[in-house]
C-alpha cells in the first residue's frame, strides 16, 4: 500500500538530534542546581545483617558534610509490592543494601565521609539459591514473606490480576497427547540491562511536604505517582524528566535513588543530587528476574499443545516492586505464543539475598519463554516437528483469546502474523537450512552451523492510560503537552510527527513540552511498546480535539460549517472551495486553542516479533559466533523507519540475544558479592563483533489506530535468546540448555571438558 501520509512513515530528523550530536542534550549529571549538594550511599558489605549501631560522629564532623542519615533518622517510607521494603532499614538484605546516606558539598567529601561512618553489624545467615530459600529453616528476609515467598499479585492490575495460568483440564490434555516431556529449565544469568547513564536523581525538598525531583527516567510522571505512595501519601511530588541515557525498562522504577535524594534534601534544606557510579549500577540496581521452570507438556503429532503444567520459580532478589506485574504479563504472553486449552502453570516469586530484579525489556514473557520453549522443543524433537511451523501455528490468531494481566479474557482482534513469519522465514532461508533437530545446517571442519527461531508478542501495546494536550497558537504553531521522556526510542519526535500529520503542519512548527509533571497531564510512559498505540492515540485525540475547536471558532468567519473545514500549514480552508481560506491568526493574538486527548487501555491487540538466528560453533574452542539475525514483524504502519530500525537492531543488547551468548551477572555464592560489577568484566558486544541483521517489517493496517500502527520496540530482545540455544544445540548435535552458551558450557556439552556445574547467576 502506497504511503499517502505527509510525515508518517517518512524518515524525519529527530527533534532532539541537534542537541544529541552537539553535546547539548542535558542528561541528569549535566544539570547543576544552585547550592546543590552531592549525596552518596554507604552500602552494606554483608548479604544479610542487622544494624546494631551506627557511629556517624566522625563523618558529621568532616568539613563540607551536611547530613548523615541512617534508618533511625528517616520516615517510614516503603517500596515494594506489597509495600514492605523501607527506604533505609535496620536490616540489610544484600551486599550493597543502603546502610546510611551522606550529603556534602562535593562528591569527594561525600565519598570520604562514607569511610568515616562506623556501622556495627550483626551478620545473619544468607541465602542465594531459590530452592534453598524455600526450604524450612532457611534464612528469612522479611517477616511479611514467610518462607521467602513474595505475596503474589499486582494490585495495580485490578482485583482479578493474573497470578497464574490455570484453565481447562490438564489431565485430559495429557491423555490426548502423543508425546509428553518434562524437565527443569532455567534462565538465571540475571543480565543487567545496563544503560550507559547510571540511575540518579536531584531532589529539592520544600517544607512542609513538597518535593521537586529532576529524574533520569523512562516514565517521569509515574515517578510522581510511585513516590506519592512510597512517601506515605503525605508528600506532594513534582517530577521533571529529561533525556534519559538508556533504560530498557530498568529506570522505569528508580524510587530508591529518588528517595535518597529527597531524604537528604529534606535533611539539609538544599537540593541534593545522588548519582550512582557504574559499579553501584551493576551491583545494586535492578537486574532481569531469574526464571526456573519445572514443567510437563503434552503435544500432538500435528504440533498442537494439549497441556502445560508446572511450577515457575521467579527469583526477584531481595525485594520485588514489579516482579508480580512481570509474572502477570508473562503469564499473558505465554498464552499469546503457545495456544493450548489446558494449563496449570503456577508461578512463585522467591526472594534471596542479592540485589533486586526489576523491569527489563521482555517483561516476564522473555523470562518465561526462555524456559518453556526448551521444554516444548524436546517434545517437538520427539515428534520431528519443525519449530518454525510450530511457533507459527501456535501464535495467537484473530478470534483466539487469552487472559491478560487483569485476569480478564480478551479476544484478539489484530492482524494475522502468519504472513510476516513466512516472509521472515523465506528471507532467512529457513526451509533450506533446517535439517531437523540436533542436526547442523553445515559443517566445515571444526566449525558447525546451526539455526534456531523464537517468537514473542504482548498485549501491552494498548496498556494503561495516557493523556495529552495540544495547544494551537495564532502564529501557526502547535505545542504538544505530554509527559513522555525520551529514552531512546525517538517517540517524543514521533508524537510530534503525529500531531504534525493531524494538523498538516511542518514538524518544525510543532514543539513538545518538557516532561514536567507540573504542566503535563497523566502519562504512564513509553513502556511495553505502548508508545505508538496508547500514547499516540492520546496525542492524536488531543490534536483532533484542538483542530475541532479551532474549526468551530473559525467556521463563522468562513461562513461554513466546522465539518466543511480543513487545515494545512497554518491556514484553514473550506474543503470543497479551498480558495476560501483564512490563517490561524484569525483566532486572534489573545487566544490559544487547546485540545485534550485520553487513551483508555485496550488489551485486545498484541504485537509480534519472530527472530531467526544462525550461529557458528567452533567445536575446538567452544566459541559461539552469532552470524546472522533475521527479525520479522508486522507493525501496521511504520511511523519512523530509522527509529524502528534502531529498536529492531536493539535485539542484541540490554539483556536480549546476548544474554544467551555471553552476558551474565556473576554472584559469588559464598559472599553475596557480584564479581563482575564493572564494564570490563561484564561482557558486552563491540562494533567488530556485529552479526548481520536483517529486518522484515510488514504493514498490514490495524484498524484501531488513526495511522493504523502498533509499537514493537520493547519486545525485540525477547525471541532471540531461546533461538540461540536452539541454534547452538542444533549445531553441536546435543542439547545445551544453560544460558549463556559460553565456550566452557559448549565444550562440556560436547564432552570435551569435565567441569563442575557453574550456574552463572543465581536467583
Amino acid at each position: 500500500m502506497a504511503n499517502t501520509y505527509r510525515f508518517i512513515g517518512k524518515a524525519t530528523p529527530r527533534k532532539d538530534g541537534m542537541d544529541i550530536v552537539t553535546g547539548g542534550a542535558k542528561f541528569l549529571n549535566d544539570i547543576k542546581v544552585p547550592n546543590m549538594l552531592y549525596g552518596k550511599v554507604l552500602r552494606s558489605p554483608h548479604p544479610h545483617a542487622l544494624i546494631k549501631r551506627v557511629d556517624k560522629s566522625k563523618a558529621e564532623q568532616l568539613k563540607g558534610v551536611q547530613a548523615v542519615l541512617t534508618w533511625e533518622d528517616v520516615p517510614d517510607w516503603r517500596g515494594g509490592t506489597p509495600r514492605s521494603t523501607r527506604v533505609l532499614d535496620r536490616k540489610v538484605r544484600y551486599v550493597g543494601d543502603a546502610a546510611a546516606l551522606v550529603a556534602a558539598t562535593s562528591e569527594e567529601i561525600a565519598r570520604h565521609a562514607l569511610g568515616l561512618i562506623n556501622v556495627e553489624y550483626e551478620v545473619l545467615p544468607a541465602v542465594f539459591e531459590m530452592e534453598e530459600a524455600l526450604k524450612p529453616g532457611a534464612p528469612q528476609l522479611y517477616d511479611e514473606f514467610p518462607g521467602n515467598v513474595v505475596t503474589p499479585g499486582s494490585p495495580f492490575f485490578g482485583p482479578r490480576n493474573l497470578k497464574q495460568v490455570v484453565m481447562g483440564d490438564v489431565e485430559k490434555g495429557f491423555e490426548e497427547a502423543d508425546v509428553i516431556t518434562e524437565g527443569t529449565f532455567s534462565y538465571e544469568n540475571i543480565p543487567n540491562p545496563l544503560p550507559p547513564e547510571a540511575p540518579g536523581a536531584i531532589a529539592l525538598w520544600e517544607e512542609p511536604n513538597r518535593v521537586t525531583l529532576w529524574v533520569s527516567n523512562q516514565a517521569s510522571y509515574m515517578d510522581k505517582i510511585t513516590l506519592f505512595y512510597v512517601m506515605g501519601r503525605k508528600v506532594e511530588v513534582r517530577t521533571i524528566g529529561g533525556p534519559c541515557g538508556g533504560s530498557f525498562g530498568s529506570k522505569f522504577m528508580s524510587w530508591q535513588v529518588q528517595c535518597y535524594a529527597a531524604l537528604l534534601s529534606r535533611a539539609t534544606g538544599k537540593p541534593v543530587k545522588v548519582s550512582m557510579t557504574k559499579e553501584e549500577h551493576l551491583a545494586s540496581f535492578t537486574l532481569r528476574p531469574a526464571s526456573r521452570m519445572r514443567a510437563k507438556v503434552g503435544m500432538k503429532r500435528d504440533g498442537a499443545v494439549t497441556a502445560v503444567s508446572g511450577t515457575w520459580l521467579v527469583g526477584t532478589g531481595y525485594y520485588s516492586m514489579t516482579t508480580q506485574s512481570q509474572v502477570a504479563v508473562g503469564c499473558g504472553e505465554v498464552q499469546i505464543a503457545v495456544r493450548c486449552p489446558n494449563w496449570d502453570l503456577k508461578p512463585m516469586i522467591v526472594c534471596t539475598n542479592r540485589n533486586a530484579s526489576g523491569i527489563v525489556r521482555g517483561f516476564g514473557g522473555q523470562e518465561l519463554k526462555c524456559t518453556l520453549i526448551p521444554l516444548l522443543s524436546l517434545a517437538m524433537e520427539k515428534l520431528d516437528i519443525d519449530p518454525f511451523q510450530f511457533l507459527k501455528k501456535n501464535f495467537v490468531k484473530p478470534g483466539d483469546g487469552y487472559f491478560w494481566r487483569d485476569g480478564i479474557w480478551y479476544t484478539y482482534r489484530g492482524v494475522d502474523y502468519t504472513k510476516a513469519m513466512e516472509k521472515g522465514a523465506e528471507l532467512f532461508g529457513w526451509k533450506e537450512k533446517w535439517k531437523g533437530w540436533l542436526k547442523p545446517t553445515a559443517v566445515d571442519g571444526t566449525k558447525r552451523r546451526g539455526i534456531g527461531v523464537g517468537v514473542h508478542g504482548n498485549a501491552d501495546i494498548g496498556e494503561d492510560a495516557s493523556e495529552a494536550y495540544v495547544r494551537l497558537h495564532p502564529d501557526g504553531t502547535a505545542m504538544l503537552f505530554s509527559c513522555v521522556t525520551e529514552h531512546g526510542t525517538g517517540q517524543r519526535s514521533n508524537f510530534v510527527k503525529m500531531v504534525a500529520e493531524v494538523l498538516q503542519l511542518p514538524m518544525e512548527r510543532v514543539s513538545v513540552t518538557p516532561p514536567d509533571s507540573l504542566i503535563n497531564p497523566y502519562e504512564f510512559g513509553p513502556a511495553g511498546s505502548r508508545g505508538t498505540y496508547a500514547i499516540g492515540s492520546a496525542v492524536i485525540a488531543a490534536a483532533e480535539d484542538a483542530k475541532r475547536k479551532l474549526f468551530e471558532l473559525i467556521a463563522p468567519m468562513l461562513e461554513a460549517e466546522p465539518s466543511e473545514l480543513d487545515t494545512a500549514d497554518g491556514v484553514i480552508f473550506v474543503k470543497n472551495n479551498p480558495e476560501k481560506q483564512i490563517p490561524w491568526r484569525a483566532m486572534g493574538v489573545d487566544r490559544t486553542c487547546m485540545g485534550f486527548g485520553r487513551f483508555e487501555p485496550d488489551y485486545t491487540l498484541t504485537n509480534c516479533m519472530m527472530t531467526f538466528v544462525e550461529v557458528e560453533v567452533d567445536t575446538e574452542t567452544g566459541k559461539v559466533t552469532l552470524v546472522r539475525v533475521v527479525n520479522t514483524t508486522d507493525v501496521g504502519q511504520v511511523i519512523d523507519p530509522p527509529g524502528l530500525e534502531g529498536q529492531l537492531n536493539g535485539c542484541l543488547g540490554s539483556g536480549g540475544i546476548d544474554s544467551a551468548l555471553f552476558e551474565e551477572t556473576i554472584l559469588d555464592r559464598s559472599t553475596g558479592h557480584i564479581l563482575n560489577a564493572n564494564m570490563i568484566d561484564y561482557k558486552w558486544r563491540t562494533f567488530p563483533d556485529l552479526p548481520t541483521i536483517e529486518n522484515v517489517v510488514l504493514e498490514t493496517p490495524f484498524p484501531s489506530h488513526r495511522f493504523h500502527g502498533v509499537g514493537v520496540g520493547e519486545i525485540t530482545t525477547s525471541p532471540g535468546p531461546v533461538a540461540v540455544l536452539m541454534a547452538v544445540s542444533n549445531a553441536i548435535g546435543v542439547w545445551l540448555h544453560e544460558y549463556p552458551a559460553t565456550p566452557e558450557r559448549v565444550l562440556k556439552a560436547l564432552g570435551r571438558v569435565m567441569l563442575s556445574t557453574r550456574k552463572g547467576g543465581v536467583a
Binding site: 552537539t22 553535546g23 542528561f27 550507559p196 533525556p243 538508556g246 527509529g643 537492531n649 536493539g650 567488530p688
Partner: protein, 179 residues
C-alpha cells in the same frame, strides 16, 4: 564495596602553585593546581575538569573506568579516554570536545554530526558524543576507511541501544562525502 577512593580530598601543599595550560576547543584555559572550585586537583581526571570545572558537559562519563568510550575527546587529533587521564598530565595539550566540532562562527555542524542526524545514528544519545569523537579521530587518521576499519576504530565505544549499524553507515557516508 562501591565507594571508589580515586579522588583524594586531601590538600597537597607545594611550594609554588603549578599551572596547567589547556587549549580546549581553541580557547586557552590557564588552570591552577589546587582544591578550589576552579582549580585542578592532582586527582582530577580530564573528564572531571572538562565537565565540572569548565562546564563542558557534552563529554559524558559512563563507566569512569576506561571501558566504555563515552568520555572520548580528541587530544592533538587523537582519541583519548578523558576519564583515564589526569588533567595535570595534560599541560600544553590541545583538546577538542563534542562542543568544539561545529564551526565556532557559523555554528555549522561538522559533517559527522550532520550525518549522525541524517542516519538517526543514535537512540538514547548518551554514548553519541564519545562515538562521534572516536569517529572523528578515525577519519583524521584514515579518511577512507573500510567498513571493517570503522568497526575496529569504534571498538572501544559502548552503545547499549544498538545504534551500531546506523553509526557505521553515518561514518561511511561522511567519509565518502569528504573524499
Amino acid at each position: 564495596m562501591v565507594a571508589k577512593q580515586r579522588r583524594s580530598v586531601k590538600k597537597r601543599k607545594s611550594p609554588a602553585t603549578r599551572r596547567i595550560n589547556l587549549t580546549v576547543n581553541g580557547q586557552l584555559y590557564e588552570l591552577e593546581e589546587g582544591s578550589g572550585p576552579d582549580q585542578v586537583d592532582p586527582a582530577h581526571t580530564l573528564a572531571y575538569t572538562l565537565r565540572e570545572t569548565l562546564g563542558l558537559t557534552g563529554t559524558k562519563v559512563s563507566c569512569d573506568n576506561g571501558a566504555c568510550g563515552c568520555c572520548t575527546v580528541l587530544m592533538d587529533e587523537r582519541a583519548v579516554l578523558s576519564c583515564m587521564m589526569l588533567t595535570i598530565e595534560c599541560d600544553g595539550k590541545r583538546i577538542t570536545t563534542i562542543e568544539g566540532l561545529a564551526d565556532p562562527k557559523t555554528r555549522k555542524l561538522d559533517p559527522l554530526q550532520q550525518a549522525f542526524i541524517e542516519y538517526t545514528a543514535f537512540q538514547c544519545g548518551f554514548c553519541t558524543p564519545g562515538i562521534i569523537m572516536s569517529a572523528k579521530a578515525l577519519l583524521h587518521e584514515n579518511p577512507s576507511p573500510t567498513e571493517e576499519e570503522v568497526k575496529e576504530g569504534l571498538s572501544g565505544n559502548f552503545c547499549r541501544c544498538i545504534s551500531h549499524y546506523q553509526i557505521v553507515k553515518a561514518v561511511m557516508a561522511t567519509s565518502a562525502r569528504e573524499r
